[in-house]
Amino acid sequence: MAADLLTPLPCSNITLLALIALMLPLLSFLLNSGAVARYAWQASIAACFFMVLSSLISMIILVHVWNGTTFHTRMTWFVLGETGHTIGLFIDNPGALMIFLVTFISLLVHLYSTQYMKDDPGYQRYFAFLGLFTFSMMGILLADNLLVIFVFWELVGFSSYLLIGHWYHQAPAARAAKKAFIVNRIGDVGFILGIAVLWAQFRTLDLETLKEAMSSSSIQGESWVTSAGIALDTRWLTFMGLGIFMGAVGKSAQFPLQVWLPDAMEGPTPVSALIHAATMVAAGVFLMCRVVVLLDMDALSVIAVTGGLTAFMGAIAALTQHDIKKVLAYSTISQLGYMLMGVGIGAPGAALFHLFTHAFFKAALFLAAGSVIYALHQYAHRHQLAFDAQDMRNMGGLRAKLPVTFIVYLVATLALVGVPMFSGFLSKDALLSASFGWSEAMASEGHRWTYIVPVFAFTTVVLTAIYMGRQVLLVFFGELRIKGPADGLKESSHMIKFVLVVLGLFSLGIVWSLDPFDYHASWFLTLMPIPASSVPGLEVFVLDTARANALDSHTVVGLISIVLVLLGFGFSWFKYRPRASYALGYQGRAGFSFLEQLSFKNWYLDPLYRRLIVNPLMSFSRAASRTEKAIIDKFIDVTGVGSVIFAHIVGWFDRAFVDGFVNFSVFFAGKVGVLAKSFQYGKIQNYIILAVLSTILIILLIL
């Protein structure tokens, strides 16, 4: 069955182009890591150039797949037994869009970084790793095969590790890098296990083939039987879905693995924009969109609830942060939760849409925040001031000093919060309506608890408005809270401004839909195919009903969300406006209430994990090493010492008894000899007499 589907597919022009687009960042990595230090600047410019080329190519590809055609090239990677493992490129509409997104944002970040990082001693290394990251990220998008996706998946984690740990000599950065990789690894193990289930069941990991194989499999009673007759318990079908989702949970920082993302803000800000806002964390969402057709209803529900919960938790945690980047990080977690929720409720198109809009406005936010940090940093440097350039307690009133940054920040904030006319409104509206429609459909099936998902989603809308309003108010309004000279705090170079403006433009709703109030009019969603689920036994009609419901309710939902946004903004203006008590006392703020602590400490997840997982693991590990020393080695040593003691006993016995016996015999023989010697006096004839006499005596005795 699978064999004929796995035949190699020839290379077409488009896939060749995609391959070139894939290889250019790798080339950039090799160039930057291999270049002599003197040519670091030139190498980074070359890297930007490669990215330009790459994004041009991805635009060409995008044009070619616009009408829905797909391109697939495949070759055999290695053969095992009779099974061939293939490797190949697969490009469809979402994939091409994603490639464009990644290359384009990567290009912008490259450009931005040439300014932002120019004084950094690790400049060259930084660009090399950016290249590696872009390469791996594109690998995930282009691969046609779950195993290959996993390869790039891990590589993305690796390059993220390298980039978070860019300032490795600072202990927090080193710790954060480690944490990010390990937490990602936990998710990856789930991913591997999901892959393993698919492999055990279908003997292939090629996605296109898997879809066919999945639809030809069936549920028979309690077992899940493929057309080849391989049967597994149906629980493994859910397990597979959850396993792959686990990979996404790790990479996209969902509950319970979201703890690494806030720490990852220790990396350079452009990296945070590229990796930890726009692209890498979105890889989980993209992966889930790719495999959504393989997931069963239970797995989808878990995904939906996890997504909703994470959206809520992230938003809560974002409410009280002081670090400008951490607010954005928690916001990212929250938005990613939205996206995965979208996957879970059968609206992957909407999820991808949100991914796209989010990628642009969140990149804009991060890079604008970077611009703020950079400006403050320069300012501090110029006036020999020592303060934390990322702490919002040291900011305020920057609106006048950094006008371009402010405008871009404001636009992106409005997009994020979901104000009509901005991109976020469209995508968020799509997700909210879908969630509402889904829970209605599920409730009609008797699953009333599913209303929790839209509740989370709508609450998060309010919370988003509150924390973003708070941030904008605290950073850009009021007075500069740090005491210092008035001069020297100014907008950074034109390159940075250019990048910000480009990203700001993409946050406008008009770019995505001509009708800024109706997401259905968006060109993006028309490109998204509605996935036809191939999982046997899946109640597809539920998802169909959900979609129909969403269509009906979207006007209402849109209105509700506008109301909620206004509510949130109102609250935040009330609480955080300049000259309100909060803003005035903000700089020296200390002493939190419990609820604020809960938010600030991100639900106490870190201490919880330390208590529940890390500490027990370390004590297990110490126990293992004690076991090693105290039991196994002790056993060996005791055996060794015991055998030596035994050997001594045997030795003593040997000397005392065995040797003693021998010595005694010798002694006895000697004495007898002395005795006998006394008979010997050299007279032969006496001997003869004795001999004959004895002979006679013997004969007499015998007779």
Partner: protein, 575 residues
């Protein structure tokens, strides 16, 4: 010509050179390094030739399926009542061994380069090293159990002295522990070997003995089949049976003497336990010590920590693989029924090794000890893959052996680099080395990540194959439960944890070295780069193009799995 003697040259060239080195006059002792290097280079060329000329083919249980094989009668003795003894000088490679032979050649070459700084008693060191070289290659190519065992035991001697004379402060303890452990293993193997010898006939020689063909004539397949039929019918008198140590004949149940100790038709019981199962267990324990599997692994950390760097390299890079290879070649092929019967337990031992080794690595304070425990953890994957008896699992096991051979070689070299500079290996005594030794840090990061199974490096392919195999075993042959693969996968998290923690502690943060030589930390020298770069390239190559090795291995592994499953099932079904 070369085709048939290449393996013999591979074995005896170092042996002869060892003699030459041992006899070198005092004035030109520096030549000993050169000789060792020259031998390794020649072996590399021969290995390259083998790699190019090797035609993927099964081998495994087909006596004529081995390549580069050379087969000469070695000892023929008439033991009266015990039948006739026949041992052969039979060497050859198939897919199970070729990759390991090539690995050994590479690692031994790297070992010579790493030994370049040895100045103390050079003559002894290099002649022992060459001796080790010969016995390692011999072990991988021998196809006669006696020959295999001979090389296997022969390896202990130079190893014991190399650790005991050139090792660290606790070298005596370590070397004796190593010696006793492996000797214990050897005893188990020896017992089975003798039992097997009494139970297996040499069909060709028996045909000659019975007068079915004349001496020196070609023995056709029909005649062999006839001999085997007569044997199973019990129509060959005991004094006409020619007993053999040939591993390939041992693997064929048709050659088992009916009613003999290890015959599978009439199951002998030893202490109420079937003798064949017991024999499999003995072989398993014997080789598991070498692998090493928990709980018979404690020689490894000590031996590694105390051994000089090149010897750690060989120990981790090659010697551990002999355990895995021995399991494949002897235990599994000769007792497939045991392999099936104990698959669950072997898998369990593998899983325990993975987790236990990783936990111990996590709490290790000593860099070399950490790497040693990681070896235990990674070799657990070999056992798990073998136990699964799927094409993926077994290929993965072999791939893991090759990959771990390269990676652990590099890891021990890395530990050695630091030890050479400061004579201190405690992790807590270093921090922020990345600033002082950037190239070194790059290498450390590369190999640490390679070892934790980062895609793009060989370790990933190996581990994913093993996991796929172990997981798929439940639907393919039902030998392993799924939770084993799941637990084993957790080992991946642990390995990331201990390696990354080590990197964070030693290389990141502020530069600080708690040792007197702290300021004298030069970056990698040319020789050190020369050792590490090829390993990095090979690891990457195997990670990106796994077919380099898998193409060599695949046919043999497929046959191996088929043979084990079918023969094993058949053997288990006979009462």
């Amino acid at each position: 010509m070369l085709q048939h003697h290449i393996l013999t040259i591979l074995i005896f060239l170092p042996l002869a050179s060892a003699l030459v080195v041992a006899l070198l006059p005092k004035g030109i002792l520096n030549l000993s390094k050169g000789i060792a290097l020259g031998v390794s280079l020649v072996q590399l060329v021969l290995g390259g030739y083998m790699f190019v000329r090797y035609q993927p083919s099964p081998g495994v249980h087909n006596i004529n399926g081995f390549q580069f094989s050379e087969r000469i009668d070695w000892i023929r003795l008439d033991l009266q009542g015990l039948g006739k003894l026949s041992t052969e000088y039979f060497v050859g490679v198939d897919g199970l061994s070729i990759s390991l032979v090539l690995l050994s050649i590479v690692v031994l070459l790297v070992g010579v380069i790493a030994s370049w700084s040895v100045e103390d008693r050079k003559r002894g060191y290099f002649s022992l090293y060459l001796l080790l070289n010969a016995s390692i290659i011999g072990c991988f190519v021998a196809l006669d159990f006696l020959l295999f065992y001979l090389f296997f035991e022969f390896m202990l001697l130079p190893m014991y002295f190399l650790i005991g004379l050139w090792g660290g402060p606790r070298r005596e303890y370590a070397s004796i522990k190593f010696f006793l452990y492996t000797l214990l293993g050897s005893i188990f193997i020896l017992m089975v070997m003798i039992g097997l010898y009494a139970s297996v006939i040499h069909p060709e020689a028996t045909a000659v003995e019975m007068g079915l063909v004349g001496a020196g004539e070609f023995v056709t397949g029909e005649i062999i089949a006839e001999v085997q039929r007569l044997l199973q019918a019990g129509e060959i008198p005991a004094d006409q049976m020619v007993k053999t140590f040939n591993l390939v004949y041992m693997a064929d149940p048709a050659n088992l003497v009916p009613g003999s100790f290890l015959d599978n038709d009439a199951v002998r019981m030893v202490m109420n336990y079937p003798a064949r199962f017991l024999a499999f267990l003995c072989l398993f324990v014997g080789f598991a010590i070498k692998v090493p599997a928990v709980p018979v692994h404690t020689w490894l950390p000590d031996a590694h920590v105390e051994a000089p760097t090149p010897i750690s390299v060989i120990l981790a890079g090659i010697l551990l693989k002999i355990g895995g290879y021995g399991l494949l070649r002897t235990a599994y092929l000769i007792f497939p029924d045991g392999a099936l019967h104990y698959a669950w337990w072997i898998g369990l031992v593998g899983v325990i090794s993975i987790i236990y080794g990783a936990l111990n690595a996590l709490s290790s304070q000593d860099l070399k000890r950490l790497i040693a425990y990681s070896s235990i953890s990674h070799m657990g994957f070999v056992l798990l893959g073998l136990a699964s008896l799927t094409a993926e699992g077994v290929s993965g096991a072999i791939y893991q052996m090759v990959s771990h051979g390269l990676i652990s070689t590099a890891l021990f070299l890395i530990a050695g680099v630091l030890y050479d500079r400061t004579h201190d290996r405690m992790i807590e005594n270093y921090s922020g080395l990345a600033a002082q030794m950037p190239q070194y840090t790059v290498m450390v990061v590369i190999f640490f990540f390679a070892s934790m199974g980062l895609p793009g490096f060989s370790g990933f392919i190996a581990e994913i194959l093993v996991l796929l195999g172990a997981f798929g075993a439940s639907t393919i042959n039902g030998l392993l439960p799924k939770w084993m693969a799941i637990i084993a996968a957790l080992g991946l998290i642990l390995s990331a944890a201990y390696y990354l923690w080590t990197i964070q502690r030693m290389f990141f943060g502020k530069l600080h070295v708690k040792i007197q030589h702290g300021n004298n930390l030069p970056d990698l020298g040319k020789r050190e780069i020369l050792m590490l770069i090829p390993l990095a390239v090979l690891t990457l190559l195997l990670g990106i193009i796994p077919s380099t090795v898998l193409d060599l291995v695949n046919d043999s592994v497929t046959t191996f799995v088929d043979v084990i499953l079918s023969t094993g099932m058949k053997n288990l079904q006979t009462p």
